[in-house]
């Protein structure tokens, strides 16, 4: 097989997409800035001031926290596997970044028929990788946290899947683009706005997606795997120093990617502007901030569910998203 210039070019684009934009570097900066935004909003809701001293309005506080945690002493309990832990957290961050390659912000376009399956597969990997990483340290509280995480995974992942499938099915059935593809759905999103029924179905699945995202990110009321003071810190119990830095970075990356996916699949991304215009970028950022604000508002105003209450509660969004998907399939 000959190596042509176009192959070299797509390889360079792939490297840029995986490691610079929207890859590791961009995700690192954007996720930590988003952490500052979440902390600031949460602090205002709780009558606090939030991060304030490092950088402009405390914007560099998450960066300083990250650096400080990296420089701390490394404590690994007996039979713990620190390096393997870092690898699995890396798998989690990597799979989350790989989902971003399906969005149109990536210079390396990854699309094809039925690529939504790979998209969801990568999303599940991030949770599984985090569970495995937490199990790298022998601790009863970690084990309880992981068992709760996996129990929750069996209810919120189907909800998430049905919810993101609804706009994809609608767009694929009513446009002539690449069918059942994430990129094709985003490009043909304006077809959803042509019929009030489509808008209603998308809105319903948007609600289900945000609820399952809240659970996927472990924010209140679904912080059951972490469950501060109830099971010490659950899955986070053995994380300290550099390990905690990686775990917190992974959480921020998940928030960033989850909110971006919601913005692109349910809110039309850059609409009503084109993608590579100032209006388009501002539109994406604004919608992103609104989605994150919603997540934080729910987090600030609710208390933790018990695991059985959470699983029982998830019957409603699961049912609603499934019904929306079935209607979308036949309408």
């Amino acid at each position: 097989m000959m190596i042509t210039a176009s192959m070299l070019q797509s390889f360079a684009e792939f490297l840029i997409a995986a490691f610079i934009f929207p890859g590791l570097l961009f995700v690192f900066i954007a996720a930590l800035l988003n952490q500052w935004y979440m902390r600031k909003v949460l602090a205002r809701m709780q009558n606090r001031v939030g991060p304030r001293f490092v950088g402009l309005f405390g914007m560099l506080q998450p960066f300083y926290d990250f650096y400080k945690l990296l420089s701390k002493e490394r404590v690994t309990p007996n039979y713990g596997r620190g390096t393997l832990y870092a690898f699995f957290i890396g798998i989690g961050i990597g799979s989350t970044i790989a989902t971003l390659l399906f969005l149109p912000i990536s210079p390396f376009r990854l699309y094809g028929f039925f690529d939504v399956v790979i998209f969801v597969y990568l999303g599940i990997w991030s949770t599984v990788a985090f569970a495995i990483a937490s199990l790298m340290f022998p601790n009863k509280f970690s084990s309880i946290g992981v068992s709760r995480l996996v129990s929750l995974m069996f209810v919120y992942e189907p909800t998430w899947f049905f919810a993101i499938l609804t706009p994809i099915v609608l767009v694929s059935r009513h446009t002539s683009g690449i069918s059942y593809s994430v990129l094709g759905t985003i490009e043909g999103f304006s077809a959803l706005l042509s019929n009030p029924l489509y808008v209603a179905l998308t809105a319903v699945s948007l609600a289900a997606a945000i609820i399952s995202l809240q659970c996927k990110l472990g924010l209140q009321p679904f912080d059951i795997p972490e469950a501060d003071t109830e099971i010490i810190a659950g899955v986070y119990t053995e994380f300290s120093g550099a390990k905690l830095a990686l775990a917190s970075l992974f959480h921020d990356v998940e928030v960033l990617a989850g909110a971006l996916i919601v913005v692109f699949l349910f809110l039309g991304g850059p609409l009503p502007f084109d993608l590579v215009t100032i209006g388009g970028v501002l539109s994406i950022v604004l919608k992103f901030l609104v989605v994150v604000f919603l997540l934080v508002a729910v987090k600030a105003s609710s208390a933790r569910y018990r695991i059985d209450q959470a699983i029982g509660f998830f019957g409603y969004p699961l049912l609603v998203s499934l019904v929306a998907l079935v209607i979308a399939t036949f309408v």
């Binding site: 890859g23 420089s71 870092a86 990854l110 399956v117």
Partner: protein, 115 residues
């Protein structure tokens, strides 16, 4: 449905996932050289998940684990051999050991004489 394209995508996505994972691992390993700007204070022994004494003193050594597997699997064979040969009489043991020693002595004489 184009299977080839989907397979290619899976490979590319997995490559991105693995590449980033290795990059994070590298950062984690390299970051162990990052020095804290603050002097280290008093250090306590790390509290490890509630156990009262170190795991090493409570757990079974790996060698013992190996022999316990051998013992468990060969137990029936051992019992069979013991039941077959053991008469549970001290005289039988004496006869057996004398015969065995005599055999060894004869073997020794043969070896010395012949070689």
């Amino acid at each position: 449905m184009d299977i080839g394209l989907t397979l290619f995508q899976t490979l590319v996505a997995s490559a991105a996932m693995l590449g980033v994972a290795l990059a994070v691992l590298l950062i984690y390993i390299r970051a162990s050289g990052v020095k804290s700007s603050q002097p280290a204070g008093d250090k306590n022994e790390p509290y490890v998940g509630g156990e009262q004494q170190p795991f090493d003193e409570e757990s079974i050594g790996s060698g013992n684990l190996f022999w316990s597997i051998i013992n468990q699997s060969l137990k029936t064979l051992y019992r069979r051999i013991v039941d077959r040969f053991n008469t549970y009489e001290i005289d039988a043991w004496l006869v057996y050991m004398s015969a065995w020693l005599a055999f060894l002595i004869i073997l020794l004489i043969i070896v010395v004489v012949v070689l």
